[in-house]
C-alpha cells in the first residue's frame, strides 16, 4: 500500500465516521418538520369539531334541496312506455332536459280528447217566468 492509498483510506474513514451524525441531524430536522406539520394538521382537524357553527350538519339541508327533485318518479306509472324498452338499453335515466318535457306533455293533453268537448255549452233550462210559475201552480188539482 502506497502513501497515497493510505491517505485516501484515512480520508474515507473520516468521511464514514462523520456521515452518521449528519444523517441523524437531517433525520432529526425531518422529524421536527413532520411533527410541526402534523401538529398543524391536527389543529386544522380539531377546528370544525370545536366550532359548531362550521359543522357540516348545518349545510346538509341546503345540499339536499339543491339536488334534483324526484319528480320523475310518477313517470314510472305511465303505461309501459319505459318498461317496454329493451333490456340492453343502458339503465341510465334520461337526461334532465328530457324529463320535464315528458311531464309537461302528460299534463297538458292527458287524454287526447278534442278541445271541443270542453267548449261545448250545456243546455241549461231557461228560468221560468213568474207567469209560467203561476200557470203551473194554478193548474194543480187533487189527485
Amino acid at each position: 500500500m502506497t502513501d497515497r492509498e493510505d491517505r485516501l483510506r484515512s480520508l474515507l474513514d473520516k468521511v464514514r465516521a462523520k456521515r452518521p451524525g449528519e444523517r441523524e441531524t437531517h433525520a432529526a430536522e425531518a422529524v421536527d418538520r413532520i411533527r410541526a406539520g402534523s401538529g398543524t394538521m391536527a389543529a386544522a382537524q380539531e377546528t370544525p369539531l370545536s366550532e359548531p357553527s362550521t359543522s357540516p350538519h348545518v349545510e346538509s339541508p341546503t345540499r339536499y334541496s339543491s339536488q334534483p327533485p324526484r319528480v320523475e318518479r310518477p313517470l314510472s306509472v305511465e303505461p309501459r312506455a319505459r318498461s317496454a324498452q329493451p333490456p340492453s338499453r343502458p339503465a341510465a335515466a334520461p337526461s334532465q332536459s328530457q324529463r320535464p318535457a315528458s311531464i309537461r306533455a302528460q299534463s297538458v293533453a292527458p287524454t287526447g280528447q278534442p278541445v271541443v268537448y270542453a267548449t261545448d255549452q250545456p243546455d241549461f233550462p231557461r228560468p221560468k217566468t213568474f207567469g209560467e210559475l203561476l200557470e203551473l201552480t194554478l193548474s194543480l188539482r187533487p189527485r
Binding site: 228560468p127 207567469g131 210559475l133 203561476l134 203551473l136 201552480t137 193548474s139 194543480l140 189527485r143
Partner: protein, 182 residues
Amino acid sequence: MHDGRFDPGGFYEFNLTGGMIRTRNGERVVVLSEDVLSSLVAAAARDGDLTPLRRLGELLGEQVLASLDRPASVLSAEAVLGHVSAVTSLFGWGRLAFERWGSALVVALRDKPELDEDELGAAALLGGMFSEISQRQVSCVPTGDSKFIMVDFEVAETVWGWFKDGADLPAIVGMLETKRAS
C-alpha cells in the same frame, strides 16, 4: 221605475194640514194599530166575510202593477218578488218571499201582524194582491208556519180542508198533481 227595481222614495204623501195620507198613486190610506186591525179581522173571519181584506190586497196589487214596466207574467219571479215584497213592507204586512214546492208556488209571509189564529186574514190579503197582479182568480191557502200555497180558487176549499185535517205542506203538495185546463 228605476232599473226594474221598486223605488220606495216618496211612496207616501203626508198632508198634515188636511190630515190625510195618500200613496203616490193617490189612494188614501189610514194608519191602524195592530190590535185594532186584529179585532176587525177576527170579527170578519167569524162572519165569514173577508172581502175588505181581499180588497186591501187588491189595492196593494195595484201599487205593484203601477211600479212594473211590463206585465208581471213576463218577468222573472225574482223581479216580481222585489216589487211585491217592497209594497208589502211599506204597508207593514211583513216580509214576503216565494218558495217552490214541486209545481206549487208558495208565499211565505214572515213577521206579519197577528190577526187571526187561522191566518185567514193574511190569506185573503195575499189572494187579493196576487189576483190583481196576475189578473187571475188566485187563492192563497194557509198551510202553517206563515206559508200560503197559491192555488186556483176552485180547489182552495179542498186544500184548506186537508190542512185542517192535519196535513202539512209537503203532504198537501203530494196530494196535488198538475192538470192542464181543458
